[in-house]
Assembly symmetry: C3
Homo-oligomer: 268 residues x 3
Amino acid sequence: MSSVPEIDLSSALRRLRELKPLVHNITNDVVMNVTANALLAVGASPAMVHAPEEAAEFARAASALVVNIGTLTAAALDAMLLAATSAARHGVPWVLDPVAVGVTPFRRTAVARLLEHRPAVIRGNASEIVAIATGDPAGRGVDADVASAEIADVASALARKSGAVVAVTGAVDFVTDGARTVAIANGHPLLTRITGSGCTATALVGAFLGARCAPFEASATALVLLGLAGEHAATGAPGPGTFQVRVLDELAAITPEALAAGARITRG
Amino acid sequence: MSSVPEIDLSSALRRLRELKPLVHNITNDVVMNVTANALLAVGASPAMVHAPEEAAEFARAASALVVNIGTLTAAALDAMLLAATSAARHGVPWVLDPVAVGVTPFRRTAVARLLEHRPAVIRGNASEIVAIATGDPAGRGVDADVASAEIADVASALARKSGAVVAVTGAVDFVTDGARTVAIANGHPLLTRITGSGCTATALVGAFLGARCAPFEASATALVLLGLAGEHAATGAPGPGTFQVRVLDELAAITPEALAAGARITRG
Amino acid sequence: MSSVPEIDLSSALRRLRELKPLVHNITNDVVMNVTANALLAVGASPAMVHAPEEAAEFARAASALVVNIGTLTAAALDAMLLAATSAARHGVPWVLDPVAVGVTPFRRTAVARLLEHRPAVIRGNASEIVAIATGDPAGRGVDADVASAEIADVASALARKSGAVVAVTGAVDFVTDGARTVAIANGHPLLTRITGSGCTATALVGAFLGARCAPFEASATALVLLGLAGEHAATGAPGPGTFQVRVLDELAAITPEALAAGARITRG
């Protein structure tokens, strides 16, 4: 165990379970079921709504909004922009997951437009954060090609430029607001052998934002929680299928006290 | 165990497994995989088809149709209306799941249009049934804010007005055709901690409709079966992930005799 | 154990795990999560991308392309045609899964257009292969109505006509290039009680194509692997839910040596 004094992991999780925040997700078709289940397991109330006809209304009524471009389409982008605009206008915090942003112009343009609506948090892997920060296409889809340790400076600069907290996941995760940075060592390699780990991290950031955590605290708590759930779930798991199921069990089972005790978070 | 004489649970399940009815689903993107697996587990043959170009043809060829508006889009609504029209014309019974109907005008209008095509069953939670019955927006998305016990009268009135059997799920479920009402006490709280429990209930109603059960019998049998599967699955489950997997195991394993023996169904 | 000398199952799996090929999937909404997880479990790197705006770019950058029409829409068909054109132009091998092709004109026309772009492999059940080969609508959706043993000749003729390797799955699988045919007896009945078994077979064919296996070898290896994973997963599984989870465990756990030792493949 290690900790960073100003982040109260236990209180954040306790508040999430008390408030059961309604989290509006416009996310990708691959992980929609997994992230809805993760949100339910942790104690939030997910709504997966992506029609342009109602995206703004849902975002306004929610406690937080999650936008994930994994299986981006033109129609989904319309809904995302409407929802992000509505969230920004009504003070609903939102988190952006720029999946594979560096890979095609379609994604780069979409992310540039979404960033105009000021997400509270950007959560990506190293390739994605580099692609946003530098404008330079990086990596191959959703993989993280850049060593996370080298990425903290890039993320910090992006945080200062965008005004968002930037959360970079990898073997070690980094969360930065441009002034402060923490490193999170929780996690397990099996998290890279199931689809939707990154997307689940982003959804959990949304849950903690919905529980009125500040963006820096929300991001750090979500990443510690998912990493710790992965560590517990891996114990004795015969493979990635069983592991994925147990991650959901753990997201429901981990107590506020166990979260604080199991955290491996340090100043970055 | 308790029972209602005119509902023969064992025969209904036996017939489902013999007939393996083809059930056409136009359902939401979150639960599509889960409900397809539930239908396969129970012994039905699911087809998930939502293109307007072929929805009417599929509905006509199916033994039953399931329509669920969870992630409604304009294109999906077109397909639903075409399928419902085709089903009504060709005598294929269909069930409507009006997910979060009260929350936006987009959903209220969609449900009003769908109801014109006379579903055999409407399956919702209390908030949704109240929203349809009264035109009054209710609840927050897919949650059930209204105590189920108070809802039986509203459901009964809706059944008389719409001509559909109304199935309301909650801590206690109610099934009513406007003249008769049964209450079903099977179930487990973990069913509220996984996504798609309600949608699975609706899909199972479709399976029993496809097995030529009358709408009242189909609805009651489906809700007893899912509730009982939940009770069995919860035994020793460490959390919602494992629970969800075991529910599928139980839908396949429960015998017609065990279904009748485990039922907690009474006149409402 | 039985084997066919010219197919080196161990080397194929070893190469897949070394190369971790990027597999681009335009697949159906029901199985997207399952097939992404299966690809990750076996050691490939899946990308599920179906926007027409970027489908051609992704296909060009991938090691293989998987096209599956399970929940076909007009927009998805646009993306499939763009991706298949791009794959064919840039020498990226691709596999077609013609789900329920015989059931509606919409699907028949789509498959006819896709076949113009020369897939390396067509993977279907007996009904689907008959429907393509004869133009005669067959079967009821995704079920296999035709005894697989009678289908080998039809598949062989289709392979000669189309230039694709044809892989037919059923109680016994057949793989043919029109000159050679192998029969694969691996598998378990529980594979028919979960959704997406056929689609997973197709995705695994794509993974082996991406690992630079020739189409005949890629198809045979994929079907032996999934069948063997099913055999292992079924041992002690209480039902289809647990079975499905364990299949993913097994896809990760089976070694190249175990694959060769467990194969039941013979000249057809």
